[in-house]
């Protein structure tokens, strides 16, 4: 660890010479979040209550967030919202600081499933923000009614000519391929991953492969008709559908029975956050029952907040926001990878993208 800091410090020192460090102000909170994920009126309420200004910055993938932190963001943001499988990696990389539970009385509002989670024992570093699923989305007009299966993506007989896209996030795409091959979404065996990578490569060769597109933009492409199938998140799907019910009438979201991703996004505080006290206040504010309900009612994702449940809109009680029991059995967390396993996966995915 010390070695890493020495190396890092040496080279960043040169950059620091030219870059003017962000000046930490007492009355500003820097939030680094996914886009389309925070109700603006919650931000306004927090600003009014604490007499501060909240500055929001956005990212589109966990990898992007991790890189920004590494590139100096570790001292620029107060609250970040990584997914479960990046939590252990952020902790091991010393990019986040432990939470002071005495400043988070609302932590007890979380459901049992989110207290002491496997990705962060005792909630030492993280508090759940929202949870959801990543599933298959397709256009019924182009493909007809389909069973809940990854066949639409990976089987050229089921989908011979309708354009489809898969996520740029290698772990999610390889997970889906692994699931279709029968190894489960959360496969980690090298042979299995290699087989999955070969499947994605063969899929990429098909004439109706329409590129690597992440979950939120793929919904825009679906409604425009430039792709007919893709992989997206349940809440974004309902969000866009409620904005444009006509456009999304024939667009279906399903949890493939072979297995798909369930995830939790968490709130964490970067190691050198400019304003950790305000960050704790913000996390506690979000964990409030009413604010938690308001958040879910706005972004259509499931709330990890037990106390917020009675206040949720009806659409949030049913699938796909609240997965059915059968769906729950197919859902798995994305494994958190480090060391050789991480490098192995990165090399595989690089190869898939490069060819």
């Amino acid at each position: 660890m010390i070695q890493r800091f020495a190396a890092h410090g040496l080279f960043t020192a040169l950059l620091v010479l030219s870059a003017s460090p962000a000046i930490a102000q007492q009355d500003q909170l820097y939030l680094f979040n996914w886009s389309q994920y925070m109700d603006p009126s919650i931000i306004e309420a927090f600003e009014a209550e604490y007499d501060v200004e909240v500055v929001e910055n956005y990212f589109n993938s966990n990898g992007e967030m991790f890189s920004k932190l590494q590139a100096g963001g570790v001292s620029q943001y107060d609250v970040i919202v990584p997914s479960n499988y990046y939590v252990p990696r952020l902790i091991a990389a010393d990019l986040v600081q432990p939470l002071d539970h005495s400043q988070l009385p609302n932590l007890g509002n979380l459901m049992d499933a989110f207290i002491d989670p496997a990705y962060d024992p005792d909630n030492t570093y993280s508090a759940a923000y929202q949870w959801g699923t990543t599933g298959l989305v397709y256009d019924r007009d182009a493909l007809g009614e389909q069973p809940a299966s990854w066949d639409v993506i990976f089987d050229s007989e089921v989908n011979p000519d309708a354009p489809f896209a898969v996520p740029e996030d290698g772990q999610v795409t390889l997970g889906a391929a692994c699931a279709w091959l029968g190894h489960g979404y959360d496969c980690t065996g090298r042979d299995q991953l290699e087989e999955a990578a070969r499947l994605v490569l063969a899929t990429k060769e098909r004439s109706n492969f329409a590129g690597f597109v992440q979950g939120t933009p793929v919904l825009q492409q679906l409604v425009r008709g430039s792709v007919s199938a893709g992989v997206t998140y349940n809440g974004d799907y309902i969000f866009f559908k409620s904005e444009d019910p006509e456009g999304f009438e024939a667009i279906e979201f399903v949890i493939p029975e072979e297995g798909a991703e369930i995830w939790v996004d968490t709130m964490m505080i970067p190691a050198d956050a400019p304003n950790p006290e305000l960050a704790h206040a913000f996390i506690n504010f979000i964990l409030d029952a009413e604010v938690g309900a308001q958040l879910s009612n706005w972004n259509y994702y499931s709330s990890p907040n037990e106390a917020a449940l009675p206040m949720l809109d009806e659409v949030l009680q049913n699938p796909p926001v609240n997965p059915s029991e059968a769906d729950m059995e197919a859902l798995r967390f994305t494994p958190s990878l480090m060391g050789d396993d991480l490098q192995f996966l990165q090399q595989l995915w690089r190869e898939v993208q490069a060819r």
Partner: protein
């Protein structure tokens, strides 16, 4: 104050700002990059000591799977797409620049402006424009399907074709402008002399026009080929993972993939390839220019 001292102060005052700029914005980042390329990654993917050539090994294709050619494909594809785009840009820009140069004087600025104005818009927005033109179901895509160029229900985007179109469109002004400047100074007496001596049109071009416009052509080629080789936005938006170039490989390592040493090694290779390309162009210019030095 002695004269020497006054002169040195004067020199310092005029040279120092420029030198400082070069030092801070060119030399320091390059040293940082070189250092980064020789670091290894720790368990979480962050750059770490000890120094190693791990990143270059990975770049060459050695990894857990033994040797694999993915990165090599990417490099070769970058070179091929750069070459193709540059040749197409030359083929379009040469007649265009000539045409503009022979218009009446009051029309020339207007026509030049028409070439340049699109490049005032952000690259991303122009690429998204092409995405909309080439998406499935658009007239252009339907025509392509009719002609059997694309599969039914598919668009012209994303594809290598779309990337080449995007590159050509993006860099056209950078070739037209220097060529226009060359054509404007063209000594028409030489062209007429060649014609009077019964030179074929090809010979007129080869011996009278080309040598005179060569500096413009060379400058344009440098302005087009080098940024095209490092292109990231156009391939990212229009390629859909089918036309990945080395710029994308590098960008991915600094973004989603979080492998900075590998990204830095890739960037170093890009710099070396660019320098090599410049050297080749210089040699080529000298040969075409009849051993005259063509400054690029």
């Amino acid at each position: 104050m002695t004269r020497l001292r006054r002169d040195s102060l004067h020199l310092l005052g005029t040279v120092a700002p420029g030198a400082l700029c070069i030092l801070v914005f060119l030399v320091a980042p390059s040293i940082y990059l070189m250092g980064m390329a020789f670091l290894s990654t720790d368990a979480t993917g962050l750059p770490a000591l000890p120094l190693s050539v791990q990143a270059f090994r990975e770049l060459a294709g050695f990894g857990f799977l033994g040797w694999s050619p993915g990165n090599l494909y990417t490099l070769l594809r970058s070179l091929w797409q750069t070459l193709l785009a540059t040749v197409l840009v030359i083929l379009i820009a040469y007649p265009a620049a000539y045409y503009i140069s022979i218009r009446p004087a009051r029309w020339r600025p207007v026509l030049l402006l028409a070439v340049v104005v699109p490049s005032w818009t952000n690259q991303v927005i122009r690429s998204v424009g092409w995405m909309n033109l080439f998406a499935p179901g658009t007239p252009i895509s339907d025509l392509a399907v009719l002609l059997g160029i694309t599969e039914p229900r598919m668009g012209l985007f994303p594809s290598q074709f779309a990337v080449i179109v995007g590159l050509v469109y993006n860099f056209l002004p950078f070739m037209v402008l220097p060529l226009y400047a060359a054509f404007e100074r063209l000594d028409h007496a030489q062209v007429e002399a060649a014609r009077d001596l019964f030179a074929s049109p090809l010979a007129v071009f080869r011996h009278a026009v080309l040598p005179q416009t060569l500096p413009g052509l060379m400058a344009g080629t440098v302005l087009v080929a080098i940024p095209a080789f490092g292109m990231y936005v156009v391939t990212e938006l229009l390629g859909g993972g089918k036309a990945t170039m080395i710029g994308n490989l590098v960008a991915q390592q600094f973004a989603a993939a979080s492998n900075w040493p590998l990204g830095a090694a890739g960037a170093l290779i890009m710099i070396l390839a660019t320098l090599l390309g410049l050297w080749v162009l210089r040699r080529l210019g000298r040969r075409l220019g009849g051993d005259r030095e063509v400054v690029i």
